[in-house]
């Protein structure tokens, strides 16, 4: 028994500490992402944004958090209570689980598993359950419509995301996220992957239900979509889960296309900056794209969204997989 403690006890304690650090960082990042979103959008719309709580409004996210904590949780009487409360917890837990395999810097990863990228795809494909369960359990038409829209949308865009990931995996020859970052990519391969980066960026907007693909919560049509009936902490969990998924998708883009923790464009002179800073900067750049497109683009119509996913992205990415693998074989560049 003592042996068990010395073997697993220290390991468990260390892992729990790492998990604590990662969750703390992610939640802080989520809080300040909401602040950044409001500030960036207000700057784009020539407004001030939050500015009264703390210097430059920097304490606004904390004030919002306290407000949501102190509110009353309302459960509709006709709702299926267990599923109703389970849905936001599931979404939030999944959004945090994904961070287990993200490498922040060389060797800075909680679980360095061989199939890291598949793990991320699996987690993001399960996020849809949080939304469907919430919509169904609320027992309200608006919520149910939002859930149906969201499910169809997430399933459709997952297909093209999966094919893009296949392209990247063909180039790198590994499903391990650290290897994906570190494998050297010739310049023509990088140019080949550029169109896929564009499609991937659009797909992650749809996958995280963000504007211009935020139909599941379209205020003007179905009031608030699947979140209509939620209040207080349950709502906060949805909110945190959604923003954490946004940061996770940005980190995934960084790892797949932007070179993770390596300095940009392979400039050796910039290697003195710690890798985690590059990782954070690149992720923040993708997050800026999220906010930018929300402030710029009007919402899609639902059939246009489906057409884009199935009739444009799916054939394009499928053809690109064939093209990339053909070129890799022709130029003998298979890893």
């Amino acid at each position: 028994m003592l042996e068990l403690w010395t073997t697993y006890g220290i390991w468990t304690a260390m892992t729990l500490m790492y998990i604590g650090i990662i969750v703390g960082c992610v939640l802080t990042a989520v809080a300040y992402l909401t602040y950044a979103e409001r500030k960036v959008m207000s700057a784009m719309q020539r407004r001030q944004g939050p500015m009264t709580v703390g210097p430059f409004g920097l304490l606004q996210p904390i004030a919002d958090g306290i407000k949501l904590f102190s509110k009353e949780t309302i459960i509709p009487s006709q709702a299926n209570k267990i599923v109703f409360l389970l849905a936001p917890m599931l979404l939030f837990a999944l959004a945090l689980m994904a961070w287990a395999v993200i490498p922040f810097d060389k060797g800075w990863v909680l679980a360095n598993i061989n199939v890291g990228i598949l793990y991320l795809v699996a987690i993001s494909s399960m996020m849809v359950y949080g939304v469907i369960m919430a919509g169904w359990a609320s027992n309200s038409q608006y919520a149910f419509l939002g859930a149906l829209r969201s499910a169809a949308q997430m399933v459709s865009y997952e297909v093209s995301m999966g094919l893009i990931i296949v392209c990247v995996v063909l180039v790198t020859g590994s499903l391990n996220l650290q290897d994906i970052v570190e494998v050297h990519r010739p310049i023509w391969v990088q140019i080949m992957l550029l169109p896929m980066l564009v499609v991937f960026l659009i797909s992650i907007l749809a996958e995280t239900n963000r504007a211009p693909f935020d139909l599941p919560e379209g205020e003007s049509e179905i009031t608030g979509g699947y979140m209509v009936e939620y209040s207080a902490m349950a709502f906060a969990l949805f909110f945190l889960g959604e923003y954490s998924a946004m940061i996770m998708m940005s980190a995934m883009t960084t790892i797949l296309f932007l070179g993770g923790w390596l300095p940009p464009f392979g400039i050796e002179a910039l290697a003195f900056v710690p890798g985690i800073i590059w990782f954070a900067l690149k992720t923040a750049g993708v997050l800026f794209f999220f906010i930018w497109s929300r402030a710029t683009l009007p919402r899609f119509r639902y059939d246009q969204l489906m057409r884009l996913g199935w009739k444009i992205f799916l054939p394009l990415t499928l053809g690109w997989v064939v093209l990339v693998s053909g070129m890799l074989i022709t130029f003998d560049a298979l890893p």
Partner: protein, 204 residues
């Protein structure tokens, strides 16, 4: 080893329990949710076996795609639970027969392993030792190099089944206006707008 055994019993017991609730839950949506839980625990068991690729494929394909569609359909159905209960007993003999057949097959399979050690040699072993490569690579070797013909034929059969399903269910409904994006894009200002000079007082 203790931890692995504990994890096995945890996954296995949740798997069996949730599979039990799939068939006993009163609400069909709860049944599907329990089904998802059991898929998930089966994936956990695969991870314990060291088959991480199969585990994650199980989650992506079954939990992420198949069960979503199940849930979709079950939620859309307008189900009256009383009607559902009424006819349930008539299916019991059929269910028992199918269950008995599957149980017999499992027992025979297990018996073959036990009593005829030679049966194990018919198994397809990974061509490369798993020590050298990850099990994703070993699977790829088996599927795409050693058994590529069988794999492609299976893919072709699935493809034909898919086309068949689409042909059977697709119907062209008359009287529906479809959006043709290329046509919309090709419209020019001159085709749809006519600018006329109208003098004051003469326009109608």
């Amino acid at each position: 080893m203790v931890v692995q055994a504990l994890a096995f019993y945890l996954f296995a017991s949740i798997l069996v329990l949730s599979a039990f609730f799939v068939i006993t839950a009163r609400n069909p949506v709860h049944s599907v949710l329990f089904l998802i839980l059991s898929f998930f625990n089966a994936a956990g068991l695969f991870v314990l076996l060291g088959a991480e690729f199969i585990a994650l494929t199980l989650v992506i394909v079954y939990v992420g795609a198949v069960a979503v569609l199940f849930l979709f359909v079950v939620m859309m159905l307008d189900i009256s639970f009383a009607d559902l209960r009424k006819g349930a007993m008539q299916y019991v003999p059929m269910g028992l027969v199918i269950g008995a057949i599957i149980l017999t097959e499992l027992v025979m399979l297990f018996g073959a392993w036990q009593f005829a050690p030679g049966a194990g040699q018919n198994l397809a072993v990974p061509v490369v030792e798993l020590v050298d490569v990850t099990n994703t690579e070993a699977l790829g070797q088996v599927l795409y190099t050693n058994y590529v013909l069988a794999f492609q034929v299976a893919g072709l059969i699935l493809f034909i089944a898919m086309i068949g399903a689409i042909v059977l269910t697709h119907r062209r409904r008359p009287g529906i206006r479809r959006q043709v994006v290329s046509k919309q894009q090709a419209v020019r200002g001159e085709d749809v707008i006519e600018i006329r000079k109208v003098t004051t007082g003469t326009g109608a």
